[in-house]
Symmetry: C2
Subunit: 145 residues, 2 copies
DNA sequence: CTGCTTGCAAAGGCTTTGCAGAACA
DNA sequence: TGTTCTGCAAAGCCTTTGCAAGCAG
């Protein structure tokens, strides 16, 4: 599963949203076009900025609603690496991340470059919902404290 | 390295702080006693609550300052799993976490239960600062949406 | 003494919420 | 036409900051 090949045309987006039982309103389609156009990591604020920049009139509230909705249905993945903001990753296939503490840059770890053996036993009464691996890095030469 | 055996006596705490070049003020010692007394995951708010509950007069600002300081010197580890708050882990040795999305509970993954092969090549110009593995789980039977 | 710390309250940044008007089916 | 969605602004939560008073060495 997974591997939508990041559609672009309005029609494809509409189709994609419908498939996820999301009614394709104008704003959702615009946001989807922006976010799903290519593999990328965007904060809510960046999505809003890109939308405005494209001339779409979308409000902050709608961006949050929409990204939350997309995350819930699996169109995007939330990446939690920074306490101050959530990143949305348009690449939903299984992969992990580097997070640069100095620049705030979030990048993908090439698929298969990190191998988790088998999952450990989960706490009793729980089922797995996802595995995140984050490798925090620092720009070489960056002065600490 | 690592493996402080979670000291308890005031004298040990003072000694520990000095070793980390932190001047052992009354508040820092109290907070350290609370936090480092055993392996645990606490939010800033919980640290404050525990302090007040013990009769220590410590302000919220001081809790944040102090936990930030402790994290910087490596006395505790920040765990970022929830966009809404930071957890501080008194267990500084290398290990990973389960995070229960339904209860907000953060628990340790037994050492060695997760094996990362070798680290992948880091982005150019960066050096590793830490690796976090978070296995998100959901209470079995919890109803989604 | 001199500087580092603390505490209070205000400010700040991200996200959520309430509610009226607009769009969708 | 009934329901769902949008947008604005206000509210909320966690965290940081400014500044005067207090403690450490």
């Amino acid at each position: 599963m997974s591997a939508h090949n990041l559609p672009k045309s309005r029609a494809e987006i509409v189709e994609l949203l419908r498939r996820h039982r999301i009614s394709p309103t104008q704003q959702r389609v615009e946001i989807a076009q922006i976010v799903l156009s290519k593999p990328q990591h965007l904060s809510a604020d960046e999505v809003l900025a890109l939308a405005n920049q494209r001339g779409s009139r979308v409000s902050k509230a709608t961006v949050y609603n929409t990204m939350g909705l997309f995350a819930r249905v699996g169109l995007v993945r939330e990446v939690i690496v920074d306490p101050s903001k959530v990143f949305y990753d348009s690449n939903v296939s299984e992969h992990h991340h580097f997070y640069n503490l100095d620049t705030g840059e979030l990048t993908d770890i090439p698929a298969g470059a990190v191998e988790l053996g088998s999952l450990p036993d989960l706490p009793q009464g729980t089922e797995a919902a996802g595995v995140d691996v984050i490798i925090r890095v620092r720009s070489s030469g960056a002065v600490g404290a």
